[in-house]
């Protein structure tokens, strides 16, 4: 069972969810190249200028670690689209895909409502810039609290959400300006869409759209405000995924 994190985070975001699957599955977590503790020197600006680059990485990981058996892929946000592209390229690698808060296109276009305009995305890049000073240079003092686990806190601070600001901006562009709507009908894998009831990044209308267009999909609403239900509502996510997966 491979988990891939969404934009802005790293594999730590699965901390609350993976215990629910550890007994039944071999859990594989990884950081997208350019995020978390990945080797930043491996960040090929041309390869990763589309999500296909990340999809190739996913197929390599799946090929190397799955012993030839198909795996279950859980992708959050942008990684759901990475899974989509990988599943189209090599369907036999995946038994099923779980998409948490997916969106095939964040930009409004004609009848389609992605939730954002191009200006909004530039505004995000601006916010990234303004947090660049505080985050990149003085990460350590940002932590307050977690007094019971100071070591854990420190470790997280030094890794979680931390990356090269230029890569973060590049990845933000690739993520929020990509349009994978045309790819949706080509996915043969069985998949589950987990749609939060209140998510400004992936609104309900987007989840409905995906469910309509993906050939073999189930849609499950999760009572949750925000884009990271696996952090704020891990139990609901775990049970929804278990319901979806075939009994072993």
């Amino acid at each position: 069972m491979i988990f891939a994190h969404g934009y802005g985070c790293d594999q730590n975001m699965w901390r609350l969810l993976t215990p629910a699957f550890e007994e039944r599955y071999r859990i594989i977590l990884y950081d997208l190249v350019g995020s978390g503790r990945s080797d930043l020197t491996a960040y090929d600006w041309i390869k990763y200028s589309t999500l296909q680059g990340h999809a190739r990485d996913l197929l390599e990981i799946a090929g190397a670690l799955s012993d030839g058996r198909p795996c279950i892929f859980v992708g959050h946000s942008v990684s759901a689209m990475i899974g989509l592209l990988a599943g189209i390229a090599e369907p036999q690698r995946f038994a099923a895909q779980v998409m948490i808060g997916p969106s095939p296109c964040y930009i409004n276009e004609g009848d389609y409502t992605g939730g954002f305009t191009r200006e909004d995305i530039h505004s995000l890049l601006d916010t990234l810039d303004s947090n660049y000073l505080g985050w990149a240079s003085t990460m350590a003092p940002t932590i307050m609290g977690a007094p019971d686990q100071p070591e854990l806190g420190r470790e997280l601070t030094n890794s979680f959400c931390q990356t090269d600001p230029e890569i973060a901006k590049h990845f933000a562009r690739v993520t929020f300006l990509s349009d994978n709507r045309a790819d949706l009908p080509r996915l043969q894998n069985r998949c589950l869409i987990l749609q939060c009831t209140d998510d400004i990044i992936a609104p309900c209308a987007v989840g409905d759209y995906m469910h309509r267009v993906l050939p073999d999909s189930s849609l499950r609403q999760i009572e949750n405000i925000g884009h990271c239900p696996h952090l704020s509502a891990p139990a609901a996510i775990a049970s929804a995924i278990k319901d979806f997966l075939p009994p072993q």
């Binding site: 505004s123 916010t127 303004s130 000073l133 806190g153 990044i201 952090l231």
Partner: protein, 644 residues
């Protein structure tokens, strides 16, 4: 700075100098202080339980809040100094720094009861400052990047230079001034016959310079670092290597001067030009040799380039024209008076030479005094090392004297031939009369004594007739244009057999063995072939062992289309010193043979001439054991083949 107004409440929570909020984990506002409400322009009642914190953010900050802030808060329990943009009621953007802590409500550990404490600090000015800082940082990074690019470009240029120096086998050296510390590039050792990997100490190098060349090198160096001269350092010296080899080094370089004009250094390049100098020397020597030969040649020696322009001419031309070579060199062929009357054939010949061929031409020239001069010219291509024709070397010989001598000789030959012809012809008539007389006498009754005398007269007259015939042939072959032959198709075997039959009469008691091989027809002059075979067979009978047969074999080979006649005899071998020129005229065989049977030594010469006239060859082998064999080999030249 945002205007700070005295808050209505004096409660420390409400009156805090920062915005304070308490929200549910999903962002729903549970409590908010007056300062925050004042900044945002909302009443507390409009916010509490009505809006979420993220609702108050710009879209970009909302995205950031969702993708970074929320996961961080969930996982770490706190975030600090996050820059977010808030939107107030009027739509104005407020830059703020936001801290937040997620903590459990005191009463319960249930996630539902967790609360988030948020502190908001206005950071508009700080934001401006940070933006400037960011810009400055960007600029610094750009500068750094361009500096790195420049460094890379420099390193690349340096690599390229080294590659160029290496491939050109150039070595660099330099001196620091005023300290005078000299350093040589590592590979300089090769110039001294030392391992390339060893650094060359400066004094070792300086001492290796040939004693006679040192002063000049030092002077050139001094001129180069003299601020007043700043001369280009360019010198050549011999370098004595530890391997005993003497190398010629070409050294170039220049001084380096600071702004105030003081020499601060020197940088130079060394090149081993030994082989180039040697090659130049060899070339010079060859050129000198050529000049020496050419200048002393009685012939006119010319060299034309591709444009048919005369680039060299030797002094012989002066004898002819009175003008020195310098007056001619540099002119194009069309402008040269010597060849003025025949430029077309010269152009043609030169074109042939530049196409890689040799050319000869003959031409005549009216000298200034009206004398008629004959010339023969031979032109050959001169090629460079790659085989390209670079120039055309011509040797022009004045053949006026030779030509006139030739004409004179020809004239004399005609006279001699005519003379011999007349004499021989005129001798034949009286000899015929003598022979006719002997026939008449033989028909009448003679005493035995008279009969012997008549027989002797007859045989002498016959020999004289043969001698006259040989003389006529000799004259024709030697002085004229060779023997004339008239080909016709004949049965060669029959012809040779008839010839042998005639000989039997003259050589009673001798064994003559005739053999024939192959088909019979061939195209020859029958009279001449009979004459040749007759001469060879007579020789074989004369010189061969009398108790052994003489064998005459005629053979026609279909394979190589040739007629061969072998004449073999046993007996003493022909001495080897005679064998090599046995076909020359007036060569006699063994002196011991009785004089009476000898002709004047023209027999084999005439055989060779007959064979030559048939475009054939005659050869001889002779050993004591195998005997002597003459082989005449003629092309078959039959009419059926010619007509074929």
């Amino acid at each position: 700075m945002t205007q700070w107004r005295e808050p209505e409440s004096t409660d420390p929570y409400d009156a805090a100098a920062c915005g304070l909020l308490t929200t549910a984990p999903d962002g729903k506002i549970r409590r908010v202080n007056a300062t925050f409400c004042q900044w945002l322009g909302w009443a507390a009642s409009e916010l509490v339980d009505a809006k979420r914190f993220q609702d108050l953010l710009t879209v970009g900050s909302k995205l950031f809040h969702q993708t970074h802030w929320m996961p961080l808060l969930q996982l770490q329990g706190s975030v600090a100094e996050v820059h977010l943009d808030l939107v107030n009621r009027d739509g104005r953007t407020l830059s703020a720094l936001v801290n937040a802590t997620l903590h459990s409500a005191a009463s319960s550990q249930s996630p539902d009861r967790r609360l988030v404490s948020v502190a908001v600090f206005i950071a508009t000015d700080r934001r401006k400052y940070e933006r400037e800082l960011l810009l400055a940082r960007r600029r610094a990074e750009e500068l750094l990047a361009s500096e790195r690019a420049a460094q890379r470009a420099r390193a690349f240029a340096e690599d390229r230079l080294h590659l160029a120096l290496d491939s050109a086998q150039l070595h660099t050296w330099g001196a620091e001034l005023p300290s005078g510390v000299v350093t040589y590039e590592r590979r300089v050792g090769a110039l001294l016959g030392r391992p390339e990997s060893e650094q060359v100490p400066p004094d070792v190098y300086a001492n290796a310079i040939h004693e006679d060349d040192r002063a000049e090198e030092r002077a050139a160096f001094a001129r180069a670092i003299d601020p007043d001269q700043r001369a280009l350092y360019s010198t050549e010296y011999r370098l004595l290597g530890v391997d005993g080899a003497e190398r010629t080094i070409r050294a170039t370089g220049r001084g380096v001067f600071d702004e105030s004009g003081h020499a601060v250094g020197f940088t130079g390049v060394l090149e081993d030009v030994t082989s180039r100098r040697r090659a130049e020397e060899a070339l010079r020597e060859r050129e000198t040799e050529f000049r020496m030969l050419a200048e002393n040649s009685p012939d006119i020696i010319t060299r034309f380039d591709r444009a048919h322009q005369l680039v060299y001419l030797n002094h012989s031309v002066q004898r002819l024209s009175g003008a020195p070579p310098a007056a001619w060199i540099g002119k194009r062929l069309d402008e040269l008076p010597l060849f003025g009357d025949v430029p077309a054939s010269w152009h043609e010949a030169l074109d042939a030479v530049f196409a890689g061929n040799e050319a000869t031409l003959a031409f005549s020239h009216e000298a200034g005094d009206g004398a008629h001069l004959d010339f023969q010219a031979r032109l050959v291509p001169e090629r460079n090392a790659r085989g390209q024709v670079m120039s055309a070397l011509g040797i022009t010989r004045d053949v006026t004297a030779i030509k006139s001598a030739e004409r004179e000789a020809q004239h004399r030959a005609v006279l001699a031939e005519q003379l011999v012809g007349i004499v021989s012809h005129d001798l034949r008539n009286p000899l015929n009369a003598v022979l006719l007389g002997t026939h008449v006498l033989r028909a009448s009754e003679l005493t035995p004594q008279h009969a012997r005398v008549v027989a002797r007269i007859a045989s002498s007259a016959e020999r004289a007739t043969r001698l006259v015939g040989d003389l006529l042939d000799f004259t024709q072959a030697r002085l004229g244009k060779g023997l004339r032959v008239a080909h016709q198709e004949v049965d060669v075997h029959a012809l040779v057999a008839d010839c042998v039959e005639e000989l039997r009469g003259s050589w009673p008691g001798r064994m003559l063995d005739v053999q024939q091989r192959g088909s019979a027809l061939g195209c020859v002059d029958p009279d001449r072939l009979v004459q040749a075979v007759g001469n060879l067979a007579s020789n074989a009978l004369t010189y061969g062992a009398p108790d052994h047969p003489v064998t005459i074999l005629s053979s026609i080979s279909e394979d190589d289309d040739a007629i061969e006649v072998h004449v073999h005899n046993f007996g003493r071998a022909i001495p080897s010193d005679l064998l090599s020129h046995i076909f020359e005229p007036m060569r006699r065989g063994e002196q011991s043979v009785k004089l009476g049977s000898r002709s004047i030594g023209l027999g084999l010469y005439i055989v060779r001439e007959i064979v030559s006239a048939h475009r054939g060859r005659v050869t001889v082998t002779s050993t004591e054991a195998e005997g002597t064999t003459f082989v005449v080999r003629l092309p078959r030249g039959s009419t059926e083949h010619q007509g074929g």
